[in-house]
């Protein structure tokens, strides 16, 4: 019990510390890492304290310390699964899906007819739950990572398409009129106006797609896989009551997802440096 109370006290102290840091150094670079890190550590300690304090069975919820130990032991397996699921399945699906979506968005951009027809249908398709699509795609594309990539393609395609189409429309009247007075060709106004203007929207879609890609690749493995991969490992480890391994895999997923998201956000910052949302704090 004292563990649980200790954790709660720590939580309150950390919260106060974060408040102080955030007030005192709101813009400092180190604070941007310190505050969320302390928050995360607090969550872990709270978790550890509650698990220990209430003596929760490790078969139900292992303590972070146990997970950390298992993680260290299983790095080989974790890496193999990471390579299979994320590097092969999620990444290739992400690249293909996003690439195709951008291409299709540019292609249908000239045809309002196609847009009016495709977007509602696209929204409908995007609403198809993956748990339904995944078995079908596994049936079509086989057990290995190709079917996982296919699931990812399906999942990321429409969010990116919708954002890109919106982005291509995001130029204002004035900007387009300017191109008109130059009598610019379609290609010229696409390259010099519409594509740059679409970037903030595109990156919105690309960021959403990162988490979707990860979830898609992992979940698809529940419906058939070779004997490696994060989804495979999670489902078998649950059967073996190896919860620390399950949580290690989840930790890998969360780390990879956050890293992937952060990477895309970084590229976004570089590409759309000019957008007001990236200039907050400047002028």
């Amino acid at each position: 019990m004292s563990w649980a109370w200790g954790a709660i006290v720590f939580w309150l102290l950390a919260w106060a510390a974060n408040h102080f840091v955030a007030k005192r150094w709101p813009r400092a670079r180190w604070a941007r890492f310190f505050v969320p890190a302390l928050f995360g550590i607090t969550l872990l300690i709270l978790w550890e304290g509650i698990v220990r304090g209430l003596e929760v069975s490790p078969v139900i919820l292992p303590a972070p310390s146990m997970i950390a130990v298992r993680f260290a032991e299983a790095t080989g397996v974790l890496w193999e699964d990471f390579a299979q699921t994320i590097l092969k399945g999620a990444l290739s699906g992400y690249l293909i899906g996003c690439g195709a979506a951008v291409l299709v968005a540019v292609l249908i951009d000239r045809s309002p007819f196609l847009q009016r027809g495709l977007l509602p249908v696209g929204n409908f398709v995007a609403a198809l739950p993956i748990v339904g699509i995944a078995p079908i795609l596994v049936m079509w594309f086989g057990f290995d990572w190709h079917s996982k990539a296919a699931v990812v393609v399906v999942m990321v395609f429409f969010p990116v398409l919708v954002n890109m189409v919106a982005g291509l429309k995001a130029t204002d009247h004035l900007q387009r009129d300017l191109m008109a007075t130059y009598s610019a060709s379609y290609l010229q106004s696409l390259v010099k106006l519409r594509l740059p203007a679409a970037m903030p929207f595109l990156f919105n879609g690309l960021k959403i797609a990162t988490t979707l890609a990860l979830i898609g690749a992992i979940v698809a493995e529940f419906f058939g896989s070779p004997t490696r991969g994060m989804g495979f490992r999670i489902s078998t480890a649950v059967g073996q009551l190896d919860m620390p391994l399950v949580w290690s895999e989840i930790a890998v997923a969360a780390l990879a997802g956050t890293g992937f998201y952060g990477l895309v956000a970084l590229i976004e910052k570089a590409v759309t440096f000019w957008h007001p949302s990236q200039r907050a704090g400047g002028h």
């Binding site: 900007q175 300017l178 010099k192 970037m199 759309t272 000019w274």
Partner: protein, 261 residues
């Protein structure tokens, strides 16, 4: 001044269809602008000045009457790249530097690289922005942005320059300076200029012809041919001739307004 007509509007009519019902923005507008003229449009807010300029540049299409530019339709004239247009707002592309923005029309029209750079430098100097080429638009004040957009329109050789309140956001001194520069440029290049302004002295100082408009539906109520000489020092603004024209413009404007003091 009966030069070759560059812009000929005959019984021009334009009605916008909006969901509140139609808005009659231009009604029976007749106007001929000769080559090399400097024409100012003045009139209360919402009287259709911008709309008329946009019709000339083929950005709007009249719903009645005829409009010819260099003997062609406005659309054909646009394809011949006859226009430089300065919009009421600067409208710079935020992802391009100032130099990049000025270069934009040159890229589109396919100027050789060396000439592009020379031209960009020249026009930036003209509007007093030399040294700011590498900045991004949001790093400049509103007035500087507006000057950059003027530079952009001057960078290439359009016969017809259409300017919609280009100097609205500038202070009087800069404005005077740019007025003078504009006059010099006009004298040198013999461009035909259409110029919208709210300032009566500015209109009188710059123009060979002042078009007074009144709202709705937008009509031309007066066309005043300037009797001022082509050579105009700034202090011409204190001459009786100048004040006389300014008075006539003011009267024309006042007639279109609701309040009469």
């Amino acid at each position: 001044m009966t030069a070759i007509p560059v812009i000929e509007a005959e019984a021009l009519d334009l009605t916008f269809q909006t969901n509140d019902g139609p808005i009659h923005a231009l009604k029976d507008v007749n106007l001929t602008i000769g080559k090399g003229e400097f024409v100012s449009f003045i009139g209360p807010s919402g009287c259709g000045k911008t709309t008329f300029l946009r019709c000339i540049a083929a950005l709007e299409h009249p719903t009645g009457g005829t409009l010819r530019v260099n003997g062609m339709t406005p659309d054909e004239a646009r394809q011949a790249r006859s226009y430089g247009y300065v919009f009421q707002a600067a409208g710079l592309y935020p992802w391009r530097t100032i130099a990049g923005n000025v270069k934009l029309p040159l890229e589109i029209m396919g100027y050789p690289r060396a000439e592009m750079n020379a031209r960009v430098e020249k026009v930036l100097e003209l509007v007093d922005l030399a040294g700011f080429g590498k900045k991004f638009p949001w790093q400049l004040s509103g007035g500087m942005q507006q000057r950059a957009s003027i530079a952009r329109a001057l960078a290439f050789d359009a016969d017809i320059l259409l300017m919609d309140e280009p100097f609205g956001a500038l202070d009087e001194i800069v404005r005077d300076h740019l007025n003078e520069e504009l006059l010099k440029l006009w004298a040198r290049t013999e461009k035909t200029i259409g110029f919208v302004t709210h300032s009566i002295p500015e209109a009188v100082y710059l123009s060979t012809k002042i078009v007074v408009m009144s709202p709705r539906p937008g009509r031309i109520t007066d066309v005043i041919e300037s009797t001022l000489p082509k050579e105009r020092p700034l202090d011409i603004r204190d001459t009786p001739e100048f004040l006389e024209i300014a008075h006539r413009v003011r009267e024309g404007l006042r007639a279109g307004h609701a309040y009469d003091e």
